[in-house]
């Protein structure tokens, strides 16, 4: 009498889902906690201590962009060394968030931040073009960690991030508090554990995703 047993088993499976909570996240009242490596809007990183952008106006990201939405204007620096960034515009109406600009940058100056709520209703031609002041983001360790899967672990080209050098092969600590772990122990953790620490710190710092205006 195996007739219908498969159907009965299937029906029991389905009805068991009735008592489980649904997995829907009711946007916009509830928002998902996006991980730090989420590919959203590209942002220009500035050093937290000096406030200077890491960007040297080399134009590699504009060259790499497949949709040509990055517009860079620069002039030679009066000190004779390097260039000064005049204009750095990203037109988010065209940006496909492919992160090729992040990959191309030799100075870890641009990263993909988890911003995606940029909808505007007025004048889409100009409202979605972000200039270099709107694109600034602090170059914290968490932000650098968010780029790790594209740019590799930060080797420290400039700024205080140079102290957090290449990961060592020391034994990783097993129980630790993500918010109070020291930097040496942080270096010893495998990348997945480090990401957890960064995420906890980001959350604790009270970072909020930008609200739609």
């Amino acid at each position: 009498m195996a007739y219908g047993l498969g159907v009965a088993k299937g029906m029991l499976t389905t009805i068991s889902h009735l008592v489980k909570p649904p997995i829907t996240i009711q946007y916009p009242e509830e928002r998902l906690d996006m991980p730090i490596w989420t590919r959203g809007r590209p942002r220009l990183i500035y050093e937290v201590d000096t406030g200077e952008l890491r960007c040297t106006a080399c134009g590699a990201c504009a060259l790499a962009c497949p949709v040509d939405v990055i517009k860079i204007e620069q002039h030679p620096s009066p000190t004779g060394k390097g260039k000064v960034l005049d204009r750095f515009d990203i037109d988010m109406a065209g940006c496909i968030e492919c992160a090729l600009c992040v990959e191309a940058c030799p100075f870890r100056a641009i990263t993909m931040a988890p911003d995606f709520e940029m909808a505007s209703t007025y004048d889409r031609a100009s409202d979605l073009v972000y200039d270099m002041y709107e694109l600034r983001i602090a170059g914290t360790t968490e932000i650098d960690a968010g780029m790790e899967h594209i740019q590799g672990v930060k080797r420290g080209l400039r700024g205080p991030g140079a102290a957090a050098a290449a990961p060592t092969t020391a034994v990783a600590p097993t129980d630790y508090d993500p918010l109070t772990i020291s930097d040496e122990d942080l270096k010893k953790l495998p990348p997945a554990e480090r990401a957890k620490v960064y995420r906890a710190r980001l959350k604790a710092s009270g970072w909020q995703p930008p609200t739609p205006s």
């Binding site: 159907v7 389905t14 009805i15 889902h17 009735l18 997995i23 829907t24």
Partner: protein, 413 residues
């Protein structure tokens, strides 16, 4: 006391309808006018009820099937999404009705009305309470079978009148499905008719009055001393087959290849937009709820609570709610099946109807005829149970001694 006496006082018609009629006639209102008003009122109430139930059913289906799929249903339009169906209906009303230039205008226009009309007509004979139904036909089951056959015609007309090959294919497939499943459905509906000895739906419900084991879904019920042992080899199988045939007749999953958008771009409904499309959907949901109501009426005891006649007597104005609850449970089972099973392949569907359901339903009819003639049966003329008075039942008496076998315990007190 026979059931006839019982119903004389606790009956919507004898208790409320007829006294009101007599009082109005006494006031000088002509009798035909009162009857006309009664009929019109009944029809209006039924139409309102159908619309209300369909809206609730659509809401319940969307919310329930969403929970089975780990998501919420629509919950934005109105509290708990209750106004979602209203919003959908308004949207469909506002759409332009496009008729293809090559389509036959009469056929194209007529098809949704035929289908919806037929499904509305089947609601007329459903007994909602003792004495409460729009039409107390004593051939109610025949009426149901007749009007259940009209959607097949409507679907043919829709498919052909659209002058679209996809519609035609969809329509033909739908018709074949309808006709194939009408055969076992019709045969299985004969089972309660045999057990109740009457084709009147009100009579079938009255035959299931009393305790729970009198319901046709639990027949045959044998008694060992005072203890009832339901042995539902007839009743349960007939009920399940009726539900399966009902699923197939109303194009619900897993028999919904007619509406399989990915296969037939909408089937026979392709060339319909706006309110005509809404009529198809209304007809489908009205049919599903009607299958639930009829299943409860034929097999689950209709408006009886199953807790005995005394209890039914006590709460007799609430008995329509009992029927609606049973129909709602059956409808939720339909939604549950929809959330679980994938669609049948077309040849599997036909095989199931002709090679599996048809022989079993014929066997069911034979068994129920045997049981009805051997065992205690319902006598609609006297409204009571009596033992069958032919030689065969006398023989079975001797078989089931020593306690006297089937006995007066089953007659009403």
């Amino acid at each position: 006391m026979t059931l006839g006496d019982y119903y004389a006082t606790h009956d919507f018609w004898l208790g409320i309808g007829m006294p009101l009629h007599d009082w109005l006639v006494g006031l000088g209102v002509p009798g035909w006018l009162v009857s006309l008003v009664y009929v019109a009122f009944g029809a209006a109430v039924i139409l309102g009820m159908i619309t209300f139930f369909v809206i609730i059913a659509i809401w319940a289906e969307r919310r329930f099937i969403a929970r089975l799929q780990d998501r919420r249903g629509p919950n934005r339009v109105g509290k708990f999404g209750l106004l979602q169906s209203v919003a959908d209906a308004l949207k469909l009303l506002a759409k332009e009705i496009i008729r293809p230039a090559q389509a036959d205008p009469t056929l194209h226009f007529l098809a949704p009305m035929l289908i919806l009309g037929a499904s509305l007509m089947t609601w007329a004979v459903i007994p909602w309470g003792p004495g409460l139904q729009v039409a107390n036909l004593n051939i109610g089951v025949l009426y149901l079978l007749a009007f259940g056959a009209i959607p097949a015609l409507g679907v043919t007309i829709a498919g052909w009148g659209s002058t679209n090959k996809y519609s035609l294919f969809g329509g033909m497939r739908a018709v074949v499905q309808y006709v194939s499943y009408e055969v076992p459905a019709g045969i299985v509906i004969v089972v309660p008719v045999l057990l109740a000895r009457t084709m009147s739906l009100q009579g079938i419900v009255q035959a299931q009055s009393g305790p729970l084991w009198n319901w046709f879904v639990f027949q045959p019920t044998f008694f060992i001393g005072p203890l009832p042992i339901p042995f539902p080899i007839i009743g349960l199988v007939a009920f399940v087959y009726y539900l399966i045939a009902g699923l197939a007749e109303t194009n619900r999953t897993p028999f919904d290849h007619v509406e399989a958008d990915s296969e037939l771009t909408g089937g026979f409904t392709t060339e319909y937009s706006g309110m005509q499309f809404a009529l198809f959907f209304l007809a489908e949901y009205a049919n599903s709820i009607a299958v639930g109501l009829l299943g409860s009426t034929l097999f689950l005891g209709g408006y009886h609570t199953g807790l005995g006649d005394a209890f039914d007597d006590l709460i007799w104005p609430l008995l329509p709610g009992v029927l609606i609850t049973k129909a709602a449970i059956i409808f939720l089972i339909f939604v549950w099946v929809r959330g679980t099973l994938p669609r049948f392949r077309y040849d599997q569907l036909m095989q199931f109807a002709w090679k599996r359901m048809l022989p079993v339903s014929l066997a069911l009819v034979s068994l129920s005829a045997l049981f009805a003639s051997l065992a205690v049966c319902w006598d609609p003329s006297s409204g009571s149970r009596r033992e069958s008075d032919n030689e065969l039942s006398a023989f079975s008496h001797q078989l089931s001694a020593p306690s006297g076998g089937v006995d007066a315990r089953k007659t009403l007190k």
